[in-house]
Structure formats: structure tokens, C-alpha cells
């Protein structure tokens, strides 16, 4: 059994899984039950300025038979009285000394308001403070949340108000509703933040009701942008997380990052760890299935770490970051081609139509005699399963024409049927950056490019 415990800027928890600041952490009753279920920590639903909520609050995006591939919300920060929240936080921490209890806060952008809330949070015995610079709705219209997170100078100023007085670790939660999360991250770190967390929700409109033409969710005939979260945002979160992990200035501070955005299973969790997260926050998956999902998050992560020989979370954190690169540094001579395993192929022809209509027309349908045949070649009198199955051609990749786009691999419904196989390109390894340095004319002029292609043997059909 691997050791899943973490130490996040001094905040300790028995496993890296924290409930994100959100509806599941709205009250002591909920957090008690979450800790009983095994959650390593919880970030209390944001407390701070007084608010009034509306209904309906949550919209959801369903895809195929999958419910709630994403959720969006216009719920505000905690609408329970501040004193009640603070009392309950104190109570939870006293009962669960080994768990991480972090309090998310958001108040008006005034130094005295921030100092006051910090003091009151520290009085509860909480382990840390998370500054909510992320919410893209409701609070941002009042100059809070993402209105702060989107402007690095505000971010730095307010963070410094907090770090000047805080005695417990301060985590700054970043909004993804920016061109790059790096500037606000650098600003928070410059102001003394002890950790970063990301991503908060993404601005979104979930949809329109086709019967009433109302927005979803409908709020008394109106609707508007809300915060988008859930499995569908995971790739965006991974990209933003890794952008911090490879930024030299961010790296220099050496602070831990709490990753979140669509984490649903231990597999997602492991990917966030590999791209640099130390702790992992979860919301939508809990909102969908309840606190019980912590069991497999822990169990599955443990099993994977054992199988891969990792003894501690620290050994996993950032292990794939060195592979983060960009187009300039990819090897232009690396060549992979698709290969279809006929023993696994069920002949659905999804690869064929994808390649033929959207890629590079390099998959053929081949009949039992080895002849390339067109689709739909049977006549109107042919029928029956034996006829249909026995005459069905096999899709085969013409490897010499395959550009290795990987579309067929992605659409294939059978695990391990279409594999991308590395084949020698016969060309020396070279990157675009190297070409720009050594053969700049090739990168600027089509005629030079043609000559280069001929010289090294690149043929584009």
C-alpha cells in the first residue's frame, strides 16, 4: 500500500482528495459525513459578503446516455449567516483534527474587509484559507471573484492584504476565464501566496429550451452565464495546470498546486498528479453521485501507485511535466501509422468513414479475395445475416499513405483494435525550431519548402 498522505504548504491530509469549495461543503452536517466517508480534506463553501440566491441554479449538459457530463451554476457563495458558518467550521475541525479543513473566502475588495475575514477564519482553527478569485457569475458583477482573478494587479494587491495578516497557509484559487493563468498566478505568488488552486468554473451558457425558447436553467424567464464544471472541463483544467507547472517563474516559488476540474475517477486524479497537482479537489462528481465516490478514488489510486511502484504521492507529482512541450519542439521526423487488428475488428467501418470523409482517404475496404471494394455494393435482393456478415469487407490501412493523424484510432469502438505503430521515417530528427534556425527559408517560402521536402523525402498526397 502506497502512502497517500500529503503535506500541502503545511496543510496535512491523509489522502490528496479534498472536496472543493462548493455545495457539498455548505454545512457541518455535510462535511462530517464526507469525512466519515473518507475524504482527506474539504474546502468550505466560500464565506464572506452577504448574498441572496435564485432558483433555478444548476443547468446540466447530458451527452448520449451520460447524464451531467457537465454542470453549470449561478449559485453564489454561502448564503448562510457568517457566524453560523464560522461556528460549524470550528466544530468540524475539532472533530476531525487529521483532516485538512480550508476555508474559502470572498469579501469586498477592501483591505479591512479581508483582514477581518482572515482573523475570523483563523479563530476557527481551520488549516488554511483559499481566496476565491474565480467565480465567474454573481460575485464578479460586484467586483469580486473572477473580476479579481482576471486582473493580475488586483490579484496581487488583495493577496498581499491577506498574506500580511494570515498566520495559516493562503491558497489563491485562479479563474480559467483568462487568456493565460500564468500572469495572475505569478501575481499571487509575488504577494506571498503559499499555494495555488485551479481551475474555478468556466463561463458558460448551458443551452436553450427548444419548447419554450427559455435559457437553461430558467430564472423567472431569464438566464445568463454561469460557471461550467464537470468531466467535460477536465482537458482544459489539465492544460492550465500544466501551464503553471512548466512556467519558470511559478516553479521558482516552489509552492504546491491544488488541481481540480472534472476529476471523477482515480484515473483523472492520477493525471492531475502527473501534471503537477499535489492535492486534488472534487465537486461535480460528488454532486452527481455523493460522498461515497471517495472509496474508489483512494482505492483505485492506491492500486495504480502500487502497480507502478510509487510509494508516495510526492513521487507522482509532476512526473509527466517534462514531456509538456509545444509544436516548435516536436520531432517532425517522428512517424506513426494506424494498424487495424483484423482479429479484433468488428467491421463497423467507423474508421473507414472517418478517414474517407475527414482525414486522408487511406483506409480501404478489402473483400475476402483481397480486392478493394466500394461500400454499399450489394444488390437489393441480397439479405440475411449470413450474406451480410460473410461478404463484409475488412477495413485495411494503406500505411504508405497514412499520415498518422490518429482519427481512426479515436473513433474505433473496440479497445486495442486500431493501434498507432511507430515506424521509421528514414529522416533525421528535426524540430521546427531547429529548422527556423538552420533553414529559415524553408519556414518562410513554399518553394523552399518544396525543395526541402524533396531533399528529405517528405511526400504529401
Amino acid at each position: 500500500m502506497a502512502d497517500l498522505s500529503i503535506n500541502f504548504a503545511g496543510i496535512k491530509s491523509p489522502n490528496p482528495f479534498w472536496l472543493a469549495s462548493a455545495p457539498p461543503t455548505n454545512s457541518a452536517a455535510q462535511v462530517h459525513r464526507a469525512f466519515e466517508a473518507g475524504w482527506g480534506g474539504a474546502v468550505w463553501k466560500t464565506i464572506g459578503a452577504p448574498v441572496l440566491n435564485v432558483s433555478n441554479r444548476y443547468g446540466a449538459w447530458h451527452y448520449g446516455s451520460q447524464r451531467m457530463l457537465a454542470i453549470n451554476n449561478v449559485e453564489l457563495i454561502s448564503d448562510r449567516p457568517l457566524e453560523v458558518n464560522l461556528k460549524e467550521i470550528r466544530d468540524v475541525k475539532r472533530h476531525w483534527p487529521d483532516r485538512a479543513l480550508i476555508v474559502s473566502a470572498m469579501v469586498e475588495s477592501k483591505p479591512e474587509a479581508w483582514r477581518d475575514i482572515v482573523m475570523r477564519i483563523e479563530d476557527t482553527g481551520a488549516d488554511g484559507i483559499e481566496l476565491n478569485y474565480g467565480c465567474p457569475h454573481g460575485m464578479s458583477e460586484r467586483g469580486m471573484g473572477s473580476a479579481v482573478g482576471q486582473v493580475p494587479s488586483y490579484c496581487q494587491m488583495i493577496t498581499s492584504w491577506v498574506t500580511e495578516v494570515a498566520k495559516i497557509p493562503v491558497i489563491v484559487k485562479l479563474t480559467p476565464n483568462v487568456a493565460s493563468v500564468v500572469p495572475p498566478a505569478r501575481a499571487a505568488l509575488a504577494a506571498g501566496a503559499n499555494g495555488l488552486s485551479l481551475i474555478n468554473t468556466i463561463n458558460s451558457i448551458i443551452g436553450v429550451d427548444l419548447d419554450t425558447f427559455e435559457l437553461i436553467p430558467n430564472i423567472g424567464g431569464k438566464g445568463g452565464h454561469g460557471g461550467y464544471a464537470g468531466p467535460a472541463v477536465k482537458p482544459i483544467a489539465l492544460n492550465l495546470l500544466s501551464s503553471l507547472g512548466v512556467d519558470e517563474e511559478v516553479k521558482r516559488y516552489g509552492v504546491p498546486i491544488s488541481g481540480m476540474g472534472g476529476i471523477t475517477t482515480w484515473r483523472d486524479a492520477a493525471e492531475f498528479l502527473l501534471l503537477g497537482a499535489t492535492s486534488l479537489q472534487v465537486c461535480t462528481a460528488v454532486m452527481h453521485y455523493g460522498f461515497r465516490i471517495i472509496e474508489d478514488l483512494v482505492d483505485g489510486l492506491n492500486a495504480w501507485m502500487d502497480a507502478k511502484g510509487f510509494k508516495t504521492i510526492a513521487e507522482v507529482v509532476g512526473k509527466s511535466l517534462h514531456r509538456i512541450s509545444d509544436f516548435n519542439d516536436f520531432d517532425l521526423s517522428f512517424r506513426a501509422v494506424a494498424r487495424i487488428n483484423p482479429d479484433k475488428c468488428i467491421k463497423c467501418n467507423l474508421c473507414y468513414v472517418a478517414c474517407n470523409d475527414s482525414a486522408h482517404q487511406c483506409i480501404d475496404l478489402v473483400d475476402a479475395q483481397g480486392q478493394v471494394v466500394p461500400p454499399y455494393r450489394y444488390d437489393a435482393h441480397a439479405n440475411g445475416k449470413h450474406e451480410a456478415v460473410s461478404t463484409r469487407p475488412q477495413p485495411v490501412v494503406r500505411e504508405e499513405d497514412c499520415v498518422g493523424c490518429r482519427l481512426c484510432h479515436n473513433v474505433c469502438p473496440v479497445e486495442g483494435c486500431i493501434e498507432m505503430v511507430e515506424v521509421p521515417s528514414g529522416r533525421a530528427s528535426v524540430t521546427w525550431r531547429e529548422l527556423m534556425q538552420t533553414r529559415p527559408e524553408v519556414t518562410e517560402d513554399w518553394a523552399a519548402m518544396e525543395r526541402y521536402r524533396k531533399e528529405v523525402g517528405i511526400e504529401i498526397h
Binding site: 448520449g64 467507423l350 450489394y378 440475411g384
Partner: protein
């Protein structure tokens, strides 16, 4: 106390309709194969992935239209098709043993439009051409409907009281309620087709009248009654098709024995056995002269009746119906053994001398096939193995006279869906014939 059997309960449609959620989940499970094998396997070549994805997208009218464009009897076929042998049998997900429930999804989509009284087609602009269709079964109704969509004027002559052919009279209600068949009839009527019932060729409808009044004729007369067993006591044997018809038209008056023997091992025999069992027979025995391996019933029909508690006596051939005071008391059979293959390619059963035995019973039902169409002789048409002979365009040896459905099925097994394809392709052939005289305007 004996339980009162209510036919409307025990014979009601066996499969419940899919719920909206079931249909949606199943539709999403379909992979949307390209040049899909299910479509190839379907005799009418319904674009199955297309209609299924329309269910998934919530376009149910479009889904039903996709089905009915290829198969006007789509609601019947959704229920009676041997899907294991056709679309579902060819589904690529058989690789995992779980093909898509295509038949039930097809029923879901077609029920949607029929349940709401929606029409997905309208009659074509009139061409002035007139076609007579003889027989209002699936082939005839399909041919008539397709021709009406193309603007031709169609009159269907049906000898029975109700149109629909075997869909109405010959398929047990467990598989297809009468209302489904009649809803399809009404849909064809709304396309402008005139259906004249109780009109029988050679009885109150003359061939001369038909030839004189119409530009083309489509014969979809089906087959005849169940042939005689040609054994002593024959007069006590019930016709299996009439047995099924009674179970649909007047189930309360259908008298079912306590111990019933069904002779034959095709799908009609299985259906007769099911009816007998469900309507209260204590023991139902299917008697067949060959073995399980040669029986012509579909696997799923055989599994179904075994599950119903029907017993089988293979390698047995009836030789006499025994009766006392006009009441059947037993069926005397002789044991058979399988010899060399006969003309059908199956091993020929031969009686084992001295092996006679009696199966005690009080009712004998025969379901050993149907007589060949007599219309062929009446009109002097060329035949093939007794069936009406047609060319690739479904035209008989008489120019302008076409035929389709069970009456031409010299090869392959008779089924509703094959009849629908015949009717559709014959309609297109008739249309092409007219197009030559109508000029380019009507050319498709």
C-alpha cells in the same frame, strides 16, 4: 377451482413497448456503423443506423419516415421479423453477444407515428395510370402504397372480410395485435388506395374485368390452406391457420383440447402450440417426422414454445386419427428414421416397420405448410415448383402482370419482410414500365 383463462390477457402482445428511457439508452448504444451490416441483412434494406440515431436525437417522425420509406409495413415487421436471422443477427455488437434491439426500436419509432395518427407520406401527383392489386397482404399493400406515393391510381381486391392478409389473420396476437395490421391498412388507404374486400378472383371478380380496367396487375395472393395429412380420421384434424385466425378474431369461441397434438414443426406449428398452451391445454405435443435439426421454425420460436412448456415428439409421423363417438382420443404415429437426403437436401424420413404407437389426445391441429397458389393455373402462368414464376422485375409470364409475396417464394423462407420487398420492387418496376409511356416527367 379452475382459473378462468382470459384470452385478451394470455394472448396479448408478448413484448411490452420500450419505455422512452430504454429506447434512448439503446439508441445511444448503436455504433452508427457505416454501410451497416444490419441494413444489408434487412431484406428491405432499411437504413437502420439512420433511424436509430434519429431516435437518439429525438427526431421520431424522421425516424419513422426512414423506416417506412424502405418498408411500408415497418410496424408489422418490427414485431414479426426473424431479427436474429436478419438485422440483429448481423449487428457488429454480436461480437460482444449484445446486438442492438433493432426490432424493438423500430416498433418504438413506428408506434410513435401510428399512435399519434401522423402520416409521413402523401399521395403523388396523379398520373392517370391504374393498377389492380389482387390480395391485401403485406406484399399487396406495400405495392399499392408505393404506387400511390408515385401518383398511380390503385385498387386492391381482397377476398377476405378484412385486409392485411397474414398480418391480420395469421400471426398470433402475442407477436402482432390485429390493430397494428389494420393501422397499416388505413395508412395505405389514406394514400388514396381503394381497398375492396370480399372480392375474389374467379368468384365475384373476373380476370377479364381486371385486365380491361387496369394498366397493370400485381398478384399478391399468398398461398392456400394447409394440405391434407391424407390419413384416416382426417376429418377430425383442424387447420392450423384457421386455429390461429380463430384465436385472433374470436378467441372466446375457440375450443382448445385438454391434450393437443400439433403436426408440423414450422413457425405456424409453433404458434398453434403456443395458442393451445396459453388457452388452457394441459399438454401440447408437437409431432414432427424429422428431428430438431431439420425443423424449419426459427430458433427463437422453438425456444419460446419450449419455455411455454410445449413437448416435442421427433421422428414420428401420424398414420391415423383415432376417435370414439366422433371425439378424437388419440393420434396413431409411426416412428421414423432418417435416410439419405431428399430433394430438399434434408435427410428423408422413413417409417420403421412395426413401430406404431398412440399419443393420447383430444385435438389434432395440422401446420405442415400451405397449398400452392391456384391462381397460377387459373391464369395459365408459368410456375416454378408450383409457385408463380417471375423475372428480376417481378413480372410473370403474362406481360404487365406482376407478382410477389409468398405466392412466388419458390426459394428461401416465406416472411413478411420478403413480401414487403417484393411489393416495393414490383411497384418500382411497374412505375418504370409506366414511365416509358408517360415520358421523362415521371421518370425517377
Amino acid at each position: 377451482m379452475q382459473q378462468v383463462i382470459k384470452p385478451e390477457e394470455v394472448l396479448k402482445e408478448y413484448h411490452p413497448p420500450l419505455t422512452d428511457h430504454e429506447a434512448l439508452v439503446e439508441a445511444h448504444r448503436c455504433l452508427y456503423c457505416y454501410d451497416a451490416p444490419c441494413t444489408h441483412a434487412c431484406p428491405t434494406h432499411i437504413d437502420i443506423p439512420k433511424f436509430i440515431k434519429k431516435i437518439a436525437s429525438g427526431n421520431l417522425v424522421g425516424s419513422a419516415r426512414t423506416i417506412l420509406e424502405a418498408n411500408l409495413m415497418g410496424a408489422t415487421c418490427a414485431r414479426v421479423c426473424p431479427v436474429e436471422e436478419l438485422c440483429e443477427g448481423a449487428c457488429v455488437l454480436n461480437a460482444e453477444g449484445k446486438p442492438i434491439m433493432i426490432g424493438r426500436l423500430q416498433r418504438y419509432a413506428t408506434d410513435y407515428v401510428y399512435g399519434r395518427g401522423m402520416d409521413v407520406f402523401s399521395p403523388g401527383p396523379p398520373t392517370g395510370k391504374r393498377v389492380a392489386v389482387i390480395g391485401a397482404g403485406p406484399a399487396g399493400l406495400t405495392c399499392a402504397g408505393e404506387l400511390a406515393k408515385l401518383g398511380h391510381s390503385v385498387t386492391v381486391f381482397e377476398k377476405r372480410e378484412l385486409p392485411g392478409g397474414l398480418s391480420t389473420y395469421g400471426i398470433i396476437a402475442l407477436r402482432e395485435p390485429v390493430e397494428v395490421a389494420l393501422a397499416e391498412v388505413e395508412m395505405v388507404r389514406r394514400l388514396g388506395v381503394e381497398i375492396r374486400t370480399q372480392m375474389e378472383l374467379g368468384r365475384n371478380l373476373s380476370w377479364e374485368e381486371v385486365r380491361a380496367g387496369f394498366d397493370a396487375v400485381f398478384l399478391s395472393v399468398g398461398l392456400g390452406t394447409v394440405p391434407a395429412l391424407e390419413i384416416p380420421g382426417e376429418e377430425h384434424v383442424l387447420d392450423g391457420l384457421e386455429f390461429i385466425e380463430a384465436s385472433k378474431m374470436n378467441p372466446h369461441s375457440l375450443k382448445v383440447g385438454r391434450e393437443v397434438v400439433v403436426v408440423g414443426a414450422g413457425n405456424t406449428a409453433m404458434d398453434c402450440a403456443t395458442i393451445a398452451k396459453r388457452l388452457g391445454a394441459e399438454r401440447v405435443t408437437v409431432v414432427y417426422r424429422r428431428t430438431e435439426r431439420e425443423m424449419t421454425a426459427y430458433d427463437f420460436e422453438y425456444r419460446f414454445v419450449k419455455n411455454e412448456g410445449v413437448e416435442f415428439r421427433f421422428l414420428a409421423q401420424p398414420v391415423e386419427v383415432l376417435s370414439e363417438n366422433g371425439q378424437v382420443v388419440g393420434l396413431k404415429c409411426v416412428r421414423m428414421s432418417l435416410g439419405a437426403p431428399d430433394a430438399s437436401g434434408r435427410p428423408a424420413p422413413e417409417p420403421v416397420p412395426g413401430s406404431e404407437f398412440v399419443i393420447p389426445c383430444d385435438q389434432v391441429v395440422k401446420a405442415i405448410g400451405q397449398e400452392k397458389p391456384w391462381v397460377a393455373q387459373m391464369l395459365g402462368l408459368e410456375t416454378e415448383k408450383g409457385f408463380i414464376k417471375v423475372n428480376q422485375d417481378y413480372e410473370t409470364s403474362l406481360p404487365g402482370v406482376y407478382a410477389g409475396g409468398d405466392c412466388i417464394r419458390a426459394r428461401g423462407s416465406a416472411s413478411t419482410v420478403m413480401a414487403v420487398q417484393d411489393g416495393k420492387l414490383a411497384a418500382f418496376a411497374i412505375h418504370r414500365r409506366f414511365a416509358q409511356s408517360l415520358g421523362a416527367a415521371a421518370d425517377d
